[in-house]
Amino acid sequence: MIKAILIFNNHGKPRLSKFYEHYSEDTEQQIIRETFHLVSKRDENVCNFLEGGMLIGGSDNKLIYRHYATLYFVFCVDSSESELGILDLIQVFVETLDKCFENVCELDLIFHVDKVHNILAEMVMGGMVLETNMNEIITQVDAQNKMEKSEVRIFDHENSQSPSYI
């Protein structure tokens, strides 16, 4: 199972954090820092796996990461996941982002955190890999975008009165 997915830049600024196990907000921040610390001091061209930090469960868990330009993509997984499989998954994720944002860069992630979350949600749910076929993912994301745009249209006319609240 995937325990957490973290994206941060070369300076350790988080750009996306998604935890599939519950940690307190404080611990989540510490995990991000710890992970950044572990990953960032590694050279390029070393292997893409390392044992997880203490906070996220130590050696029972692995960190699998890739470094693209200014960003680190880190998946924290337990022993049930195939390392190379996850590595490919990261690649699919990034390629998908690239298609959705047309030449994705860090700025896209900053300004569209919700979109990144949605794309990720198409791929991973509750820590399990859901979909790996890029075309399928993009089809779904496109459908979402269409739906969003359509709503902006429709509700522009209605002067948007909010619906009943709970």
């Binding site: 998604k18 991000i32 190379l84 300004f111 919700d114 739906m147 909010s162 709970i166």
Partner: protein, 934 residues
């Protein structure tokens, strides 16, 4: 308490469902552009333009104040604004700031009719709302509305949220709902009739695995089955043949029907990996044809690894190798086909020298598990030079660590000296993060494969010299244990430590070992004038002032032992003890020792001294405390070669049993200094004078088996506490009276007792015990028990209390086992055999042949069978020596009829026990329980 599937199962179910639902043709109106939340973009830009951290915090606080006032304002916000503000909060949260409001607004968004607003609401909830939030009820409400909305998009959002939050509350709230939707899901409508069976989920997923057309759905289903199969392997046995069939289709296909899921020329790599994982839940298939087919698949995968790559892209080789590594894992798991194992080993050997670091890493890791197979151990050993080379030249510490692991795993008597030497030399330059582990490994290997113990002593002293700071107490305790237990090495050890202590700077751990060994065996080298008693003493004492208090305490004990060994240095030592720096030492412990030892040396006669300060008795042999430490440090998963420690395949880290055992051993290990001093060890405990907290409670189950055939008795007893039981059972209900007796004259404080039950049992404590238990008093606790379905694991009673300032914690396995819910059934011979035949399916019968552990007495045996709960049927079996019984197990969900037959063979002192019930898990459990009784 936990009924229904676990949250994880739920999630997996959802995963399936999500796929199924998204396959439905959604009608999406096609519309043009129109976007976004300008306010949000502006805010983010502002933050990015902040020059300093302070400015950023200021800007964020301003925004938080603004949002707060908007949320609190009288004017009802429209959905768009709410969405925008909630989004801003999300962004602020991502930057690492606490968000303590806005949850309610996010929940409100759930009831919006707009997709965009709902989506943000759900996003916020799955990122920020924790499972015990008091809003959970409102959230559940929102989810429920969406689940019943018949709008597939909204349903998906809701399901996704449940999957991501995955809390117990949600699982309970929707446990019933989800399978229902699952069955209604468009893709798997064809399964509806099947789901009328007992276990709808099982039927559904198995059929998906069989017929599922969409690879994505099948991948999800495979994940689900793997999880379920780990819980109850028997229920999913059929998945093995399905998985093999599917795997074979993928592996041998010309990848035409799998085009969508072909990734860089590899057909459905993810699904293949998942299928191979699933197969690792089971032993090799027994059916020869199936087995052949699987072997063929594995061979094909291995063959493909030798083919030239179809693409230069790294993704191609990654995907291909992901499947390959998983196939190798499966081969190792099955551990039954020598040819495959050796091929796997050769393949990994190639990877060891591959230029991709990732592959080298994984190869080292897989080879580690391969080393523990008897078929391939020798093959693995041939790679020793490569591995040692990796240790020396790899640039990456994670790879080097795997190399250390592998060396450890492949070590045996033939190569121990080489490997230990290499590890020692690596230790000098090793990364700090892994030094302690290497030290432990070297210490273990040196002990395990020592042919002569002089080598062992040298190795450990080298360890201390090279990496003294990383040598934990367990390691130097152990060397002392071994030296004390082996006469042949004592003289050598004394000589070696004496020499080692001559170094101008030596590590404190060496001083400890030196002090202890010279104190015990200094006499063995005293004949040489270069190491005369006085020289030895002066050498030790020259280190005294540089050492910490515990070491000094140890040295003082060594000195008093010297007085016994060498009367000629008595005066010198007495003078040292008498000095102000000892007698008036600020440290109470040191002062006390100095005073006591000085008095002892003055008043005791030589005979008394000799008795008091006698050589330490040998330590009882038990598991090395170092090994226990390494296990604790690494978890059993990463310790190949020692015991049966296979990597846990699918992420369930089940160390519990293993670990509790080791802690039990450690805590009773003399040198681990647990507060359970036995007479002979008291001096030793004193020497080391460290008190440790009570070891974590391990589950006590020694008396468990005694309660299988009876309901009353003493369950647990130590010096402080006695636990007695009385219990009664009727159908699926039981009541247990637990008596806690304080055996001391002191009050127990903060006394608590709680019960952790496995899912199929409901245990309910009627009233908590009073937190103080007076000395000599007995308190009673009543436990109500309900058996929901058949079970194997017994509940655990956890007791904690304070006694004289230390926290005691005790865990005892409560003897509540399946046979307690037995109701005897009388029947005639004819009925019995008729039913016996009805229960003739192979999985319904469990048979065990075992040796008698007690005298074979007919009356006792009868009493035991009756005590077990079955009716003893006379005159049924044609052979009067045999015993036949019948009864019904009552659980809340069902009743299970059971027949049993016990055939004694007095000549061979053996029994054959046969159980037939309508449920295989029940047969198995009852057989296990009863067979232990004779």
């Amino acid at each position: 308490m936990g009924r229904g599937p676990s949250p994880l199962t739920q999630r997996l179910l959802l995963l399936l469902l999500r796929r199924a639902a998204s396959a439905a043709p959604d009608k999406m109106p096609a519309v043009s552009k129109g976007d976004g939340m300008r306010g949000l973009a502006v805010f983010i830009s502002d933050i990015r333009n902040c020059k300093s951290k302070e400015a950023e915090i200021k800007r964020i606080n301003k925004e938080l104040a603004n949002i707060r006032s908007k949320f609190k304002g009288d004017k009802a916000l429209d959905g768009y604004s709410k969405k925008k503000y909630v989004c801003k909060l999300l962004f602020i949260f991502l930057l690492g700031h606490d968000i303590d409001f806005g949850h309610m607004e996010a929940v409100n968004l759930l009831s919006s009719n707009k997709y965009t607003e709902k989506q943000i609401g759900y996003l916020f909830i799955s990122v920020l709302v924790n499972s015990n939030s008091d809003l959970i009820r409102l959230i559940n409400n929102g989810i429920k509305n969406d689940l019943t909305s018949r709008n597939p998009t909204f349903m998906n959002l809701a399901l996704h949220c449940i999957a991501n939050v995955g809390s117990r509350e949600m699982a309970e709230a929707f446990a019933a709902e989800i399978p229902r939707i699952l069955v209604a899901g468009s893709v798997i409508q064809l399964l509806a009739p099947l789901s009328a069976a007992d276990q709808p989920i099982r039927a559904v997923v198995l059929v998906v695995l069989h017929h599922g057309q969409r690879e994505g759905v099948v991948t999800a289903a495979t994940s689900l089955i793997t999880t379920l199969a780990q819980k109850s392997p028997d229920d999913f046995k059929t998945s093995v043949s399905l998985a093999v069939a599917r795997l074979s289709r993928i592996v041998t296909s010309a990848s035409i029907d799998l085009q969508d899921y072909t990734y860089y020329f590899v057909a459905a790599p993810w699904l293949s990996v998942k299928l191979l994982r699933l197969l690792q839940c089971y032993p090799p298939p027994e059916d020869a044809a199936l087995r052949g087919r699987l072997t063929e698949c594995l061979e094909t995968i291995l063959n493909k690894a030798q083919e030239p790559p179809k693409s230069k892209k790294v993704q191609h080789s990654n995907a291909k190798n992901a499947v390959l590594f998983e196939a190798i894992s499966l081969i190792i798991h099955h551990d039954s086909e020598p040819t495959l194992l050796v091929r796997a080993c050769n393949q990994l050997g190639q990877f060891l020298q591959h230029r991709e670091t990732n592959l080298r890493y994984l190869a080292l890791e897989s080879m580690c598990t391969l080393a523990s197979s008897e078929f391939s151990h020798e093959a693995v050993k041939t790679h020793i030079e490569t591995v040692i080379n990796a240790l020396k030249t790899e640039r990456d510490v994670s790879v080097r660590q795997r190399a250390v692991d592998l060396l450890y795993a492949m070590c045996d008597r033939s190569n121990a000296k080489q490997i230990v030497a290499e590890m020692l030399s690596y230790l000098e330059t090793a990364d700090y993060s892994i030094r302690e582990e290497i030290v432990l490994k070297v210490a273990i290997l040196a002990e395990k494969y020592a042919v002569d113990y002089t080598w062992y002593v040298d190795t450990i002293l080298n360890l201390i010299r090279i990496a003294g700071d990383y040598v934990s107490d367990e390691v130097w305790y152990r060397v002392i244990q071994i030296v004390i237990n082996r006469d042949d090495v004592q003289g050598y050890a004394a000589k070696t430590v004496f020499e080692a202590l001559q170094a101008p700077a030596c590590h404190e751990n060496l001083v400890k070992v030196g002090g202890y060994i010279l104190g015990e065996f200094g006499n063995l080298i005293a004949g040489d004038s270069r190491s005369s008693p006085l020289v030895q003493f002066n050498l030790l004492h020259s280190k005294f002032h540089l050492c910490s208090v515990p070491t000094r305490a140890l040295l003082l004990s060594a000195y008093i032992k010297f007085i016994n060994l060498f009367p000629e240095v008595k005066a010198t030592i007495q003078e040292v003890l008498r000095s102000d720096s000892q007698l008036r030492n600020a440290d109470v412990e040191l002062q006390q020792r100095a005073v006591e030892y000085l008095r002892l040396s003055c008043i005791a006669s030589t005979d008394i001294l000799a008795t008091v300060l006698e050589e330490m008795p040998p330590f009882p042999e038990r598991e090395s405390s170092i090994l226990a430490k390494l296990k604790r440090k690494k978890g059993p998963g990463n310790l190949p070669d020692i015991d049966d420690t296979r990597r846990s395949v699918n992420g369930n880290t089940e160390h519990n049993n293993n670990n509790t055992e080791t802690t039990a051993k450690v805590s009773s290990d003399l040198l681990a200094l647990s507060p359970a001093p036995s007479a002979g060890a008291s001096l030793l405990v004193d020497v080391f004078s460290e008190s440790s907290a009570p070891a974590a409670a391990d589950v006590y189950e020694d008396n468990f088996a005694r309660f299988v055939c009876k309901n009353n008795g003493v369950l647990y007893e130590n010096q402080l506490l006695q636990i007695g039981l009385k219990s009664e059972y009727r159908q699926n209900l039981g009541r247990m009276y637990v008596f806690y007796g304080n055996k001391t004259s002191t009050q127990f404080l903060s006394f608590t007792a709680s019960v952790g039950s496995p899912d199929p049992l409901n245990t309910h404590i009627l009233h908590p015990v009073d937190p103080t238990v007076d000395g000599g008093a007995q308190v009673q606790q009543i436990l109500n028990i309900e058996c929901l379905s058949d079970f194997t694991e017994a509940p655990v009673l956890n007791i904690q209390f304070r006694y004289g300032g230390t926290l005691q914690s005790i865990a005892v396995k409560l003897p509540i086992m399946l046979n307690k819910f037995f109701q005897p059934t009388e029947m005639m011979s004819q009925d019995f055999f008729q039913r016996w035949k009805q229960l003739g399916a192979p999985q319904q019968e469990v048979q065990k042949i075992f040796k008698a552990k007690h005298p074979m007495d007919t009356e006792v045996t009868k009493a035991k069978i009756i005590g077990f709960g079955a009716a003893l049927l006379d005159g049924v079996d044609p052979n009067p020596a045999n015993f036949v019984g019948a009864g019904v197990i009552h659980t809340k969900s069902t009743q299970v009829g059971c027949l049993l037959r016990l055939e004694p063979n007095t000549q061979a002192q053996m029994y054959r026990l046969t159980l037939r019930t309508s449920r295989d898990s029940v047969s198995q459990r009852l057989c296990d329980l009863l067979s232990e009784q004779f």
